[in-house]
């Protein structure tokens, strides 16, 4: 930057940069884009190759294209069961998570008490690394309740990590809703719960959406709890099921790549639609603590 002529060095006059710098800018971004896209692109290409080609060190992008891996994944494995399991667990987690975290977030946003900031801080810290800390006690509790290899055990485990974080995020949203709206609701004869349900929640819809989405993807892509809790292959979620394809002794790369593509495409499509809100949500809650 320091070599630029003074006339066009301005950050606010960047649109007047010279051709040389334009080329450098685009080349850098193209290189970065290639690094970012290549692994995914190679995954898609590999999934279209027959097994015999995959297991050679071929660098040809396309080689005997076939859909055999896909038909095998869909027809001869339990991929669809695992996908359904993952969706069921994630949906229940998202619905319950939003209900619990919205209510908790509202309570924390409206009631102040001594040591409030420290409580918020601890809430953030303790909930963000639950795997190592909570997995053993939760596993033992679920074993005691006979819930191992049952979906409710996973949902409960996921809620312990999503609810505090979403509550924290929701608090940020509720803080932006003026308290005068609560008061107006009460003056008009709504119960406290009615005020929350009919006035405040609709105003926090973007926050609810972010919380639901965050809960969903957390549950959807979780590995540790699912690996430890789900012991029967009819109960696996996708993350556990896929690791069966590449075990210690055999590696079915064709099945793995085809199923990865089937998972990644819908996930990436939804994600690209909502990512803007997600970034805002994740950082907004934080800066407003």
């Amino acid at each position: 930057m320091s070599h630029a002529a003074p006339a066009r060095a301005g950050t606010w006059s960047r649109d007047r940069r010279g051709p040389g710098r334009s080329v450098a800018l685009h080349l850098t971004l193209i290189a970065a884009s290639i690094v970012s896209v290549f692994p995914v692109a190679w995954l898609v290409l590999t999934s279209l190759k027959p097994r015999t080609v995959i297991e050679t060190a071929s660098v040809a992008p396309i080689d005997h294209p076939t859909l055999a891996n896909y038909t095998q994944v869909l027809g001869e494995t339990r991929f669809l069961t695992w996908a359904a399991n993952a969706v069921i667990v994630s949906l229940i987690t998202a619905v319950l998570g939003v209900l619990l975290s919205a209510t908790t977030g509202y309570a924390v946003s409206r009631f102040r008490f001594p040591g409030f900031r420290s409580v918020m801080w601890m809430l953030l810290i303790t909930q963000m690394f639950p795997v190592a800390i909570l997995i053993v006690p939760i596993y033992n509790l679920m074993a005691g309740l006979g819930l191992i290899n049952q979906f409710p055990s996973l949902v409960i485990a996921y809620l312990t990590s999503t609810v505090p974080f979403c509550a924290w995020m929701m608090k940020g949203y509720f803080d932006t809703v003026p308290v005068t709206i609560d008061e107006a609701g009460r003056v008009d004869g709504l119960t406290p719960f009615g005020t929350f349900w009919r006035l405040i929640l609709p105003l926090a819809k973007p926050g609810l959406a972010v919380a639901a989405f965050y809960s969903f993807i957390t549950a959807w892509a979780e590995v540790a709890y699912a690996t430890a809790f789900m012991t029967g292959d009819d109960k696996y979620t996708l993350a556990v099921g896929l690791s069966q394809f590449v075990g210690q002794h055999k590696a079915e790369w064709g099945l793995l790549t085809a199923s990865s593509v089937l998972i990644a495409i819908p996930a990436a499509a939804v994600f690209l639609l909502v990512q803007r809100h997600l970034v805002t949500g994740l950082t907004a809650g934080a800066t407003k603590a």
């Binding site: 320091s2 630029a4 060095a9 950050t11 606010w12 960047r14 940069r17 850098t28 971004l29 970065a32 884009s33 690094v35 970012s36 896209v37 692994p39 995914v40 190679w42 995954l43 590999t46 050679t56 060190a57 660098v59 619990l100 209510t103 908790t104 509202y106 309570a107 900031r117 801080w121 810290i125 690394f129 190592a132 800390i133 909570l134 997995i135 053993v136 006690p137 033992n140 509790l141 074993a143 409960i156 609810v163 509550a167 993807i217 892509a221 590995v223 540790a224 690996t227 430890a228 996708l238 896929l242 690791s243 790369w253 998972i263 996930a267 990436a268 690209l272 990512q275 805002t280 994740l282």
Partner: protein, 291 residues
């Protein structure tokens, strides 16, 4: 009126935590844990052993090794995340053609679920027929046994995690850059500030609310990055890429399940993160941040 739900939330998080602390003070393992086999209910026979598990951990050679690698892993990953993320955000924060296309392409690694990415990288880095080695060989170099050599396995997990984590940093920092008023840059330019001075004295301080948050989030996420390590290298070869979190998990769920030992590792990890976060918060406070 919201009290019942708040209580549910506290129970949901608090009860397992309390139970974890209790377990960490016992000698519970797979063998003496109460269980039900068919009609027979076998009661628990584990006992309270005080701080024994903690003493064992802190005096073991495993602890320092795991901790050192976990710290290296976290610092290197977060530094690369923020550095590359900020660089790309600065580039994207300019008017130019194809900007939204670049943005979408660069966000892609974040859009793919992390466990899928870990599998992708495991395939790309495969020693025999991975494309990375294939390209190295085509260029005339010898292939590298990425996932089977302790050093290269560390490089591999870091590369995979950096690839995964840059997009979030880039988007968050880009949002921060776009919120900086242009007038600041114009005023600085009128005063004759060089581009470096403008970056150093306007961009970086204005980004601080966003960057302090994302650095904290990134640190916590990386410290606990279970899927990448677990699915890419399984902590191997020979435990060389095992971070604290995957180590605690392995204690509890592989071999003879050592529940109490794993719970104690969990509490040690919790203590480390609380200390780190408190220090970080103090540092931010001293710089006048509103934490």
């Amino acid at each position: 009126m919201t009290a019942p739900v708040v209580v549910v939330t506290l129970v949901l998080v608090g009860y397992p935590l309390v139970r974890g602390i209790y377990l960490s003070l016992t000698d519970a393992t797979e063998g003496n844990m109460g269980r039900t086999i068919g009609m027979n209910v076998i009661p628990s026979t584990y006992e309270f052993v005080g701080l024994k598990n903690y003493i064992d951990i802190l005096t073991s050679s495993e602890f320092l090794g795991r901790l050192t690698w976990t710290v290296v892993w976290t610092v290197v990953c977060v530094a690369l995340h923020v550095g590359i993320g900020l660089g790309l955000a600065l580039l994207l924060n300019r008017p130019m053609r194809l900007r939204s296309l670049y943005r979408i392409l660069l966000v892609l690694p974040w859009a793919v679920p992390a466990f899928v990415s870990a599998f992708i990288w495991r395939y790309l880095l495969n020693g025999e027929f991975g494309v990375v080695n294939a390209m190295l060989r085509a260029a005339g170099f010898a292939g590298v046994s990425w996932l089977d050599d302790p050093f290269w396995a560390k490089v591999s997990v870091i590369a995979c995690n950096v690839w995964l984590g840059v997009p979030f940093m880039m988007l968050a920092l880009l949002g921060g850059l776009q919120a900086i008023p242009r007038e600041l840059y114009e005023a600085a330019e009128v005063d004759g500030a060089t581009p470096w001075q403008r970056f150093r004295h306007i961009t970086l301080p204005s980004l601080r609310p966003v960057s302090s948050t994302v650095v904290l989030l990134g640190t916590i996420w990386t410290f606990n990055q279970f899927p990448v390590i677990f699915l890419l290298t399984k902590g191997g070869p020979g435990g060389s890429t095992e971070i604290l979190v995957t180590y605690a998990y392995r204690q509890a769920f592989e071999g003879i399940r050592n529940y109490s030992g794993s719970a104690a590792w969990g509490m040690v990890i919790l203590a480390l993160l609380v200390v780190m976060a408190t220090v970080y918060r103090r540092a931010l406070r001293q710089q006048g941040e509103a934490w």
